[in-house]
């Protein structure tokens, strides 16, 4: 590693409506180093790499220099021309083309308008050999595993002689072997003087390859240090640590009987999940994005096929083949994405309120004026800011929309509530109201399962926390063990249970 800086960012901020995703971040990348960026969900890692790759424009005020020259990354193509290659989590590959064709797509070597196939193939073969890969230039990408496809993307960056490679969670869905192989390759290409930005939720990987580490928290730069100067617990401490004011002080209620019990549940990308929830309790599900929390909730609610395990509700085994069964068994599912899976935006509050309860009634007819009354009752009960229940859901703010979703489920008189990211995209005041509503549910003896990437929310609201990692339960934290450090340690640390 030389000390020559290839890319440097100074005072970079990025504001989205209502959110400061990055706040005066400075970051630099040297030639031939592997620079890892760490942080919790929502710390600003993705926003930062999107700015470097030209996908987002930073707020005015900061500046970016590439090889010592100020640059304006107005578009991904600008970044690419400079030599910045981003390898995204999801594949940006053409499955029906060969490896060579994938590498040169859009950058074909031509002479008089004709493609120089032989030359392209030769270059591809050279790079693949350098990477000590068994892949052949003519192989169709379709036939490769996801690990091999990543290697193709790296080969592409090498063939095109990129100077900076950004990798966002490259190893998700990889086998252990593939991870080893990829990490070796990354270390190898460092020798070519390429600067590598590496983002991973797995601290174990980070410590295996990182030269330097930058930690972000809530859009702020916490520290940049040499990897050999820190250890895992210390790194986790950098990633957590907030004011007490960020936490919500909740009341606790006596716990009642177990209402939901899950034994060795598998399917929809999660494996061997066991837990139980009691009345008056919030069971939190923590983990990094992609650890399978939402997938588990969808599976629980009958939205995906179960491949094994058992679910008991109020002590009786149930077979939840579809959401209809789940609703009939008194389950409610407040999804992560209100607009996509929760609300009927172009319909009135009244219609949104009554829709889920229809699965439980046998009545053939509906009564529009009674629906409006029901809608109004819930507007009043939840304190929704709306003129009346004939207002369209699309005209409400985020917090009020969430209350409409809650009204939809409260109207079914369920007993088990799944809250997936209950306060995402909701302002602070409305957040407190949602928490209060959840407290009221507990007081009434309902059970709550909560998925959240918001650490303070997870720590302050949960009675117990199940931490998930790679589709499995990585560990369970009792009330007195619930803390940011412990959650992070289980969800990104190398430690096995």
């Amino acid at each position: 590693m030389s000390d020559e800086v290839i890319l440097s960012l100074k005072n970079i901020s990025k504001t989205f409506p209502g959110v400061q995703a990055l706040n005066k971040i400075s970051f630099d990348l040297r030639k031939g180093e592997i620079h890892c960026i760490c942080g919790e969900n929502g710390a600003g890692k993705s926003t930062l790499i999107k700015i470097i790759s030209g996908a987002y424009q930073p707020d005015p005020g900061g500046n970016i220099e590439f090889e010592g020259n100020p640059v304006n990354l107005t578009h991904p193509s600008v970044a690419m021309k400079l030599g910045i290659q981003t390898i995204y989590q999801e594949h940006t590959i053409f499955p029906h083309l060969s490896i060579t064709e994938n590498i040169f797509v859009g950058m074909e070597i031509t002479k008089n308008g004709m493609m120089r196939k032989v030359e392209m193939k030769k270059k591809t073969a050279e790079v693949l050999e350098y990477l000590r890969s068994d892949l052949k230039p003519d192989q169709l990408v379709d036939e490769l595993s996801s690990g091999e496809q990543k290697i193709v993307e790296i080969a592409k960056a090498l063939v095109l002689e990129r100077k900076v490679i950004i990798m966002d969670e490259p190893t998700s869905s990889f086998s252990a072997n593939e991870i080893d192989n990829l990490l070796e390759i990354i270390k190898k290409i460092r020798e070519r003087g390429i600067g590598i930005i590496y983002i991973s939720h797995h601290l174990e990987e980070v410590f295996r390859i990182a030269d330097r580490i930058t930690v972000l928290r809530d859009g702020l730069h916490v520290i940049t240090c040499n990897a050999k100067d820190v250890d895992e617990p210390q790194l986790i401490r950098y990633m957590v640590g907030r004011d007490a004011s960020a936490f919500y002080h909740r009341d606790f209620y006596p716990l009642g009987e177990t209402v939901l019990k899950v034994e060795n549940l598998s399917g929809n990308g999660v494996h061997d999940i066991s837990f139980e929830v009691r009345r008056g309790e919030i069971l939190g599900f923590a983990g990094m994005v992609g650890s399978g929390r939402s997938e588990l909730m969808t599976l629980l609610f009958g939205g995906a096929e179960k491949t094994g395990g058992k679910i008991y509700i109020m002590g009786k085994e149930v077979n939840l083949k579809s959401p209809i069964n789940a609703i009939k068994n008194k389950m409610c599912y407040i999804t992560e994405d209100r607009q996509y899976t929760g609300l009927f935006l172009i319909h009135t509050i009244a219609r949104n309120t009554i829709i889920a309860n229809m699965a439980k009634t046998r009545k053939f007819l509906v009564n529009p004026s009674k629906e409006i009354k029901t809608g109004n009752t819930f507007i009043e009960r939840l304190g929704t800011k709306a003129r009346d229940s004939r207002m369209l859901a699309m005209n409400l703010s985020g917090g009020n929309q969430q209350k409409v979703v809650l009204a939809k489920w409260f109207n079914t008189e369920g007993e088990i509530y799944i809250f997936d990211e209950p306060t995402r995209g909701i302002d602070v005041g409305a957040k407190q109201e949602i928490y209060q509503i959840m407290m009221n549910l507990l007081k009434e003896g309902k059970a709550i399962i909560m998925v959240s990437s918001d650490m303070p929310e997870m720590v302050s609201m949960s009675d117990r926390v199940m931490v998930m990692k790679a589709g499995r339960i990585a560990g369970e934290l009792k009330r007195e063990e619930v803390s940011e450090e412990n959650i992070l340690e289980l969800s990104i640390g190398g430690k096995k249970i």
Binding site: P323, I324, T341, A359, F364, V366
Partner: protein, 354 residues
Amino acid sequence: MKESPVQQDKKRVSLFGRGENSTVVMMLIFFFIAIILIQLITSAVSGKVVYPSFISPVNLLNIIMQVAAVGIMAMGMTVVMVGGGIDLSVGMLTSFVTIFIAKSIMHWGIPLWGALILVVIIAVVLEMIMGYIISRFSVEPFIITLGGMIAFRGIALIICNSQEISTQGALAVLKTNLIEGAKGPSGLNLTFPIYVVVFIVITVAIWWLMKYTKYGRRVYAVGANRNAAYLAGIGVQNVVMSTYALNGFLVAIAAIMLLARVNTAIITVGQNLEIDVIAATVVGGVAMSGGKGNIWGTFVGAILLGSIANAMNILRLQSEWQFVAKGVIIIVAVTAGAIVQARQARAQFMRQIK
């Protein structure tokens, strides 16, 4: 139940559902006023003001008679489109139904009622097959029904050997005039055939189905947001399939009414009919994206488009102009609807933050 303190403004609750249909109703009124004025002015210019023939009882009944078949089909299209689909095959399905009936009773010796029942079942099954494919394999309804349209055309042509078949008045009973002997102010005979009654009954029935039944609610929900509908415990696939099945039933009924009127089964009977049907539906305020619109809007839309051809006739304008007029009205209606809606949304939003 406890009286809600939220204020309810009663004055806007009407048959036409909260001003949702205001655009199309206004356009119909404007169109009528415009034609009446033209007639009054032209007659005044020629010296003597006469009662405009456009709004004579005879002509108004005429409009309804001309609209009946397209209107019934538009009811089915409304249900399909509210559910988030579209059906391009209705025109050719109409041709197929008329040809099948004529062939059955004229050449295959099937009794009339048998033929009618059979053809209704066939139409429902054909639509259900398309609905099944659309709902289970999540393919674009536009493409599947386009395929259906072409296939139905072929089947119809094979059955009739590409020839026309006269029914020799076999369905005349549907044309029975219910107000036989009644005369308009000008002394002309008024006709109010049974198929107009069928049109009105079907309109009321589908309106009731969509507004007052759980089924109707589900169709709206599926059209507005499939994912949310699924998680709210709605069998999305079956609901989608059922909208096509219902549409098949209504298309068969409409085709029978049409055959009663024209007495001849020929492939051109249904040609381009899907255009008129979709036009009536969208002019009536049904959104292509699903989940929005209502039956009365479609009813008014069908009447509006039907009166255009009629008015052109009465004003003795070249009939080709009707296409221009229809096209402009579709564009204006849908654009105006979008503008009005954007305004309402903004007004609602402003009220909320105040």
